[in-house]
Symmetry: D2
Subunit: 277 residues, 4 copies
């Protein structure tokens, strides 16, 4: 196993007519496939914040955006896996009776993952396939082909059923549709997102430092699948996991606020890492 140092972070420039409560999920989990080496939060102006864990165990930072302009910059240095996403074709599907208690919630439909509505399609497309890793990969292949990537095609109320019907979407939509198919087959599946540096990325995909993917419970543990890219990647840095993008949003605001610029960074760390902390 190899490791790779990655600098990641996000900048937000916002403008709000009035104080606006907000929740940020931008900090990588501090125990997982990667380990954290340093981190820094900056806001301008200083505003009070506090951290809490949501019902899925994700670290959330909560604050109130002041009226006027506000900027937040988050930087972190992590040691991520330098290997490609794990691949274990012998990992089996589990009967529900073997699924851990805390994974059961990931067999149910959710706001965007309408596994109940997509049940007929799931059965027709994948019901006859042999259970296990290859079936989940078949779902990824199908979703990858079925959806045409296009920015601006999905809205905050776009569900996996909409995506199935329209055949267009962005990375969250790929994940939602694939998750829905898995759950319809009683395979626990959860939404995940994070930083992803552009390392050895094959064409035709363009760089993308922030991405959504999903995880599937097979063979007694969770595995990463990525219907959007559908090729193994290196150095994913998971921020959060949950039922779908509604529950684990990078930014949730309550009120009128204008996100003027948002940039997300994820790069292989070279000599400049000294500058972080």
């Amino acid at each position: 196993m190899t490791t790779m140092r990655v600098t990641a972070g996000a900048d937000f420039q916002m403008s709000s007519p009035a104080p606006t409560p907000a929740v940020f999920m931008i900090r990588p989990e501090t125990r997982g496939a990667h380990v954290t080496l340093a981190e820094r939060w900056e806001t301008e102006p200083f505003v009070p914040f506090h951290d809490y864990l949501d019902i899925y165990g994700n670290s959330c930072r909560r604050l109130t955006l002041p009226a006027g302009t506000f900027s937040l910059r988050y930087d972190t240095l992590v040691e991520a896996s330098g290997d490609l996403d794990p691949y274990e074709p012998t990992a089996c599907e589990h009967p529900i009776s073997e699924v851990p208690d805390d994974a059961l919630v990931y067999t149910l439909p959710s706001r965007y993952c309408l596994s109940d509505m997509l049940f007929p399609q799931a059965i027709e497309l994948f019901g006859g396939l042999a259970p296990g890793w290859s079936r989940v990969q078949a779902i990824c292949d199908y979703v990858h082909e079925h959806i045409a990537f296009a920015y601006g095609t999905s809205t905050p109320v776009t569900t996996a059923l909409d995506v199935f019907n329209s055949g267009t979407g962005v990375c969250r939509d790929y994940a939602h549709l694939a998750i829905s198919f898995c759950r319809a087959l009683n395979i626990p599946a959860r939404y995940s997102f994070g930083y992803m540096p552009d390392i050895d990325v094959p064409p035709p995909y363009s760089p993308m430092d922030f991405c959504a993917w999903f995880e599937v419970y097979l063979g007694g543990r969770w595995w990463i699948f990525d219907a959007r890219n559908n090729v193994p990647r290196r150095a994913r840095v998971t921020i959060a996991r949950g039922r779908d993008a509604l529950d684990v949003a990078m930014l949730t605001t309550y009120g009128a606020t204008s996100l003027q610029t948002m940039t997300v960074r994820a790069d292989r760390a070279e000599d400049h890492v000294r500058t972080l902390a």
Copy 2:
């Protein structure tokens, strides 16, 4: 404050062609408005079970229904409140910045409570009302009038938007629509269900021992509201709370099973309470 002893419970007669995993939520919470005095679980045949707490903290009993017939009987004796549901018209709505971390999830849409889709209606109907208890009561009044109670009108994929459009539903649908309106207005609201004995029930409502209602966060705590009955009741015995009926179902099964009979009991306990334990 007065108290009232209530015997409650449920019987399930089921038949399954093959072993079928199941989760039961039928046990009242053991700390709340009521206290538990005794309880008993019986199954025929004996099957292994275990208990766990879901992400909302509800007590769930998990087991695998055997192939063939299976019966489960649960009985409990509780000391519930003998008073009518609390009424506190001065309880205020909170700005989101004052809402506790663990209540934030109840401001988001969920599978059945499409507060995002119903946002325009919520604003039009209730946006101009004074915030607070009276606004939540106005939501209950509206939902109570808008929906015609009718068994068989809702299915496992019926959302609050469907109910709003059709104007028909059962108790869970009343709760879902009212919750959706609350959340659209940034008022935390959660689904709840439990046992409810028929005590002093005014006509024209018929007895009902099992019911769904909802809870709203006002004035620093959660309060019961019930758009279905829309009159205060005594001796509610809460079983579970969650985002909507999907997450907190009395019974969730994974596979083909036939629920042959299900009866739910909730009665004021008289001399016969000696027979429980």
Copy 3:
């Protein structure tokens, strides 16, 4: 792997001059080496109770003993392992950096397990031994030999250091001393107790249906060790785990109460199991 049905339970007859708060830990964990098939709680008179999980995750039942006499009877039927305690001599000790976060607390001293005071003895006796299963077994062997079992020799303030010095104790004291030695060597160790039917017990030990033992973290999981019996047993039914007997007591009372009789049962279930539920 074989299984064995065990009926277990406890009866308490108590008398209190005034209402006395109490906490009972007598219910087997519902997920573990055994599975539960049925259970029943009875009190006379009925008194309100509620359940909660303590900081270690143990299920506790809390109630107030009424003034006068009170009896509680708990019965359960479980399917336990019919095999002897697992034995895995290749399981290794872990450096602290590999110990999971939630096991770190089991490396610290606690009220009865004075691993800090017993550090010199631990180093002298076991510091030179090869790390791993065999070293933990050497600790068990030493403790088993060093302590003479004698009822009445330990009090609620007897620590492992006292036991080391006196050379006498009961099952909890064997566990406390062995745990202290493990922790002094940076091996995570926790106290555990439960029901233990007398099956194939070799002489000279007499039957004992309730017993304390301990668990050690080796090779990535927790293993049962039992310095008191120091022979493998079948069908242990764990009730609770914690730092020492102070935190996980079968019964904790706050005030003057008289425990008139207490009987604990644990037997291989035969045809009479029908009578439980």
Copy 4:
């Protein structure tokens, strides 16, 4: 209520002959009497870390000190209360039956707080006093008078009983003795520590930026008491709470390491706060 900006932090310079696992508790809780405005962690060299919550909910940072020299610097800017510690003489003691489940553990003895051994003294000294705030204050007064503050008088195995007998100690010992008396009287009490700027401190006490105190459950909530200073203070910034100093140590190391320098800062923030983030 007034607020006051406080910059706080700690510097550690350490030297280890071999890699040494360590746990730091130096980050203020992010929700409480204060709110956090900014924070920064720096280590030299960079080493992997991860964060976790211990069984009491405290935020812990875990890492392995490398062989050789290592430095860690933590800085935070918080908005603390500018008022004196709350004082509510009408807050009552609760009977145990009214104590919340999660406070029960704070009625039990712990490694350093031997409330069981100090029971006779607690009864003799304070058993006859009227219950409530004034009794807890009487305990503080007694401990404050009874102990002569002297650095170097307590060791890692010094208990409250030792302190009671010797009459000497440092701030942790004041807290341990007072906590023991409270618990002996069935009053929930827990250990706490944090940053404390020297603001308006009356003579004869010298400045002290890091201090231990304790909290007592009265009148339905936890209150700060401080037997060491025994005068109300401003702008305490709590880091962690637990049963005693053993469980909530600023720094726990596993192995031989040399703490060459440690400095703790806590100051009222003036114009220089711009420099933090």
